[in-house]
Symmetry: C2
Subunit: 700 residues, 2 copies
């Protein structure tokens, strides 16, 4: 067992107050050390990874004391990739990594009280990858848990310390315990410098650690690196010198890192360079890199997140851009597609690209870090959002063509399958800022392994691994009491939490009405002259005195036509369009009657109010579990829920008072009145909300 | 009619929005101009004051058109002082001022729909005085409505403009309409400079205006003026040169202002100089000034607001200091006693000095400005608080010896009777900052005239004078509709408002747990070393792990013994002590059972929650009356109620989380959870709450 467990008891303080209180700093994540029984681990083969598997078993075995557990590497056609077969007496796999994953699964089942019955488990995706938007100066774009665990501001002489290696090892173990087998360790807005020798040497140091847990290291690359680093005239992918430069660089990388995973590319997107700068297509650019990587088994993950200011609907552009290129990509190119057509909003429909690219490998990109869901201040369990996307039916090959099945090789013959999650880790002691944000890292890993897992099951697992009766001050309660008093209400809170965020931020299909820079507070009014319209909220909500919502039907942008029948017809009719996506696809009058019988305006009001009340409910739930939780995590979560409630109030007031200027209708009188003036909220730079940033971060 | 009516219509803006909206800037107070009928005013005598009376009748007559109304000055033994007799056909009085007051009463009755039946009305107090804590540099101590209307920063050359005179005339008229007949125009923390010639000439200019409406001008004086201004060695009242200096100065004043009212003195109080500096008593000091003023008919108002840091209970000190001096004061000295024993808290018991000084004139000092009740941000109608004090029974001369009767000459033979109200006026266009703060100025004036008036009647009058069906956008609703939809709910809100403040700030007899400097937000924790304990909240709340409250019984400070039987016995027993004063007199355990059956801790929690819910209710009430109110005042009040709700939340969270450290009990789970962390609120300098100060003040 790695040195990841820290139980810091502040007895001196609490004893003075008359309490005996336990404190957990959260660093152990879902891998908390619990008293284990002795186990006899048998393995015909020895290797470093098998040794890890043995040690995990010895440190965490909750089966019968003195049992024998056999690790068997043997070809088995029912096992794919690093999948495994297990029962109470052992794990069998095709690979060493499969053994390790199987061991983690057995231990997880023991700890969560699930039966360990004969089972085969195969991964949904071959490549299960975290994307770190970590900059070389140590900052993390959209990171809310401290600075980068990989980089710090060191000019061009990045160093590696023992402390770094130790932390990376903990990180690798946490990922391996979920089956994550890849990590992109620098920002998609990539600095060319990462490809210079000093940085590549640091990448090698990271990769050497990652490899111990079966994790491949990848890099984001800047498409203009040949010009910027190599002194070439340009970075046109069809210029032989450019391809040669990439060939040489790739050779250099693989010499350092033989199992290097490949490149992630954000090209011609939000100001990043790309092949279109030279009149080439995305396929031209991606294929050039794919050809260079091919000899080494590397892949290119080419992001589809592209949009231009001159288009009338950002939501349709990735589809317009990429579908015509279907069939033109090399088989080691995977198009990396965000779950929704815009940008990680609290709710979006699935991206129409899923299932529409039939001859091209496509991988979903999910966002674990809560860029648009309250950063690390709000409790928002994201598994329901991802489950909603993965289980959405594209109908591209008939009913049942879910996003999951369209991306995991079930429907289309992909050479590679993969899934990416934008990480939420940083140097904060508890890795993620918010204790419950750890659950999103966990959920991504579990869904990447099994894209059919339900949110409830994931929440149950995580809660049982992360908390327990032993956290209570004083004697541990019976498991049954803990289940009733802690586990069930907290699970309920988790499962409801993402919908609460939708309700108090942007219900009924509203989207991207955030304060534009930090994507935290509300900013539906923001739209100064000279700013690209598609970077301003009014572009998305389209509120006027007639109504609200983005008309994406045939009478509007017609982006709706990108969805396949019968979905298209269902969405195109407001009466059959799911109400939670109503204003995503339709501009509707304020007095439009929704299913509740209320007017659209009233429904909007009740939705925001509901969100606020949900957060108040979470506060109640959490305060009630105080006797069952350790003091340190209890208080941090309590404090963050308070902030969330304040924020929900701000969101509700800002949006209702702003939209009321258009609706010209009263807020129904059984709804709590706003407590802020609109002009105050409009002047309130969301960054000044830092006045509320009360809890100093603990850095590792 | 004076030029006090300003209807500023911002049609241009609102018409664009499709509304026709009326806007009232509030400057006209309760004297709004309404369409009047012609009236024939008959008066045997002519004088400037009678001419004002005639003009008011002609501008405001709502009786039958063409009626005759007779003004008659005639001695009548049933009429006292400036009292009057009136019916529908005329007013009779002993004095011209009595005529004017009678005219205002007739017009008030016409406007509020009351019958004008034959009635005699005599004032409860001879001198009905506003105290302005206005500094010579133009600032106003505890003023929340802009700078002083009397002073501005002009070094030693104060000037008088026509704009000043015009404003002072409006001010005088507003006061006269209520029967207020005196004004102290400088701060009780007095600068000696006010007695220099340039300032006295400005005082004369003010007095010349005030006199037109029968208002006497008074000055606060600094007891060390002889030393500071006259160059004397000291200001010992028994030194003949000191008395001579005051004699000369008084002569100079009366030469300028023949009807000058007298001096208000804050001596040996909170660092102000006084006779005790020279080993003399308050009586020595007051009597010296009284002798000097006597020839001119002037009076000395000597404040009893004294307390020393070395005493164990500030609440008892005024009594201890002054009762032994009873009988030693000249008959033109009036001891000015704050309503409660501490300092204008949202709720206090009456000061034990009332009724206890049997051979000395005593006058109540009320605070109109909301120093401790949310400044000009919170809606708090103070008439119920003052009524509660005035109707409190002291039992000093048997049952029925109310504070009112102990101070108005009903029980004790006072040479002079008087009442003072610390004013809430400033240069803000609406005079008082908050529209509803005008009601407190109004209520003080009405209670000063008739200390038996009920709060509800005062609220009804003020509302009908200050608002009306004509404020509605579009056609005016019927009077009946306006009564149901506006008048009744808003009246209810006003009558509940002070109790709401008590609930969310300091229920159950808690007091002085404010943030100490600005007396606005909560600060129950404040108590740094080196600060006098009686200037820190823990001195007052005495919270510890055993319980909370100030033990003023015989086992504590025994200040309770200053109250007369049977009150003393009633208060001394927690079971019979009114619950709203429980913690004022008792330190009780957290699990003490209150009448609701709840523990003291739970009751505290529910009280704070109730206060917050009351403010939310006020918001509901006010938002519902929008169609009946003019847009300008509606929006300002709406905005201030929002701020009040935010503040109530802060108060509730701060006090419950702070006291919870001692009670060690959970906040009952059906109560809304705190949304702030205690450490955040403790760090929050209340002045930084200015971030919420959204509405730029309009200066006159």
């Amino acid at each position: 067992m790695m040195p990841g467990i820290k139980i810091a008891c502040t007895y001196c303080l609490f004893l003075l107050l008359g309490f005996a209180v336990k404190a957990d700093d959260g660093h152990a994540l879902w891998l908390r050390k619990r008293p284990a029984n002795p186990v006899n681990v048998v393995s015909a083969k020895q290797s470093p990874i098998l040794e890890i598997a043995r040690k995990e078993l010895q440190d965490g075995w909750l089966g019968s004391a003195g049992a024998t557990f056999v690790l068997t590497i043997k070809k088995d056609r029912s096992i794919r990739g690093d999948g495994y077969r297990f029962d109470g007496s052992g794990v069998q796999a095709n690979t060493e990594l499969g053994i390790l994953y199987g061991v983690y699964e057995v231990l997880r089942r023991q700890q969560t009280g699930l039966p360990v019955m004969p089972t085969v488990s195969n991964p949904s995706y071959d490549r299960r990858i975290l994307n770190h938007w970590d900059n070389l100066n140590g900052s993390v774009e959209r990171g809310y848990a401290g600075l980068s665990i990989f980089w710090r501001d060191e000019k061009d002489a990045p160093a590696v310390t023992e402390k770094d290696r130790s932390l990376w090892l903990e990180y690798a173990r946490a990922n391996a315990s979920l089956g994550v087998n890849g990590t992109v360790i620098n920002n998609v807005n990539a600095s060319p410098r990462v490809l210079t020798r000093p940085y590549l040497e640091k990448v090698k140091a990271v990769a050497d650690i990652m490899r111990r847990y079966g994790i491949r290291t990848y890099l984001s690359v800047n498409f203009s690196s040949p010009a910027q680093l190599g002194g070439l005239k340009n970075s046109d992918p069809l210029v032989p010198e450019v391809a040669q430069w990439w060939k040489d660089k790739t050779k250099e990388i693989y010499a350092l890192i033989p199992d290097f995973g490949g490149f992630l590319v954000k090209a011609n997107s939000e100001g990043q360079p790309g092949p279109q700068d030279f009149g080439r297509t995305h396929a031209d650019g991606a294929n050039m890199l794919a050809d260079v990587l091919k000899p080494y088994g590397g892949i290119v993950m080419w992001r589809a997140f592209v949009y231009a200011p001159n288009d009338n609907d950002r939501a349709g552009q990735a589809y317009t851009e990429f579908v015509p290129l279907d069939g033109q990509f090399r088989d080691n190119v995977i198009i990396q597609v965000k779950n929704g057509p815009i940008d990680f909003q609290p709710r979006e429909p699935f991206s129409a690209l899923f299932g529409a690219m039939k001859k091209t490998s496509v991988m979903p990109e999910l966002q674990i870090t809560q860029e648009y869901l309250g950063h690390s201040n709000h409790l928002a369990f994201l598994a329901p959002m991802w489950e909603e996307c993965l289980q959405s039916d594209t109908y591209q090959q008939g009913a049942g063509s879910t996003v999951a099945r369209c991306s995991d090789g079930s429907i289309y013959p992909q050479r590679y399958t993969a899934i990416a999650g934008v990480a939420n880790t940083g140097l904060d002691t508890n890795w993620c800022g918010h204790t419950f944000a750890q659950a999103n890292w966990y959920a991504f890993g579990r869904l990447a392994w099994n894209n059919q897992l339900g949110s409830e099951k994931i929440a149950e697992e995580w809660l049982q691994l992360t908390f327990g009766p032993e956290d209570a001050a004083g004697p541990a309660p019976a498991k049954e009491e803990w289940q009733q008093q802690f586990f069930l209400p907290v699970k309920q809170m988790m499962l409801e939490s993402r919908e609460a965020v939708v309700n108090y931020m942007m219900p009924l299909g509203l989207h991207h009405i955030f304060s534009v820079f930090e994507h935290y507070g509300p900013g539906p009014w923001y739209g100064p002259k000279g700013v690209r319209p598609d970077w301003t909220p009014p572009y998305y909500h389209q509120a006027d005195t007639n109504g609200i919502g983005f008309n994406r039907t045939a009478t509007g942008s017609n982006t709706l036509s990108q969805y396949k029948e019968p979905l298209h017809t269902q969405l195109a009719n407001p009466a059959t369009c799911p109400e939670e996506l109503l204003l995503w696809f339709h501009h509707l009058p304020w007095d439009y009657r929704v299913k509740s019988g209320r007017s659209l305006w009233d429904e909007l009001c009740y939705s925001y109010q509901k969100g606020l009340l949900q957060v108040r409910g979470f506060q109640q739930t959490w305060d009630k579990v105080e006797p069952y939780a350790d003091a340190a995590r209890f208080r941090k979560v309590q404090s963050k829920l308070r902030r969330q409630c304040l924020d929900a109030q701000i969101w509700k007031d800002a949006c209702l008072l702003y939209f009321q200027q258009f609706s010209r209708r009263p807020i129904p009188f059984d709804i709590e009145r706003p407590v802020y003036d609109l002009d105050y909220l409009m002047k309130l730079n969301p960054l000044t909300l830092q006045v509320f940033e009360r809890n100093a971060r603990q850095h590792h």
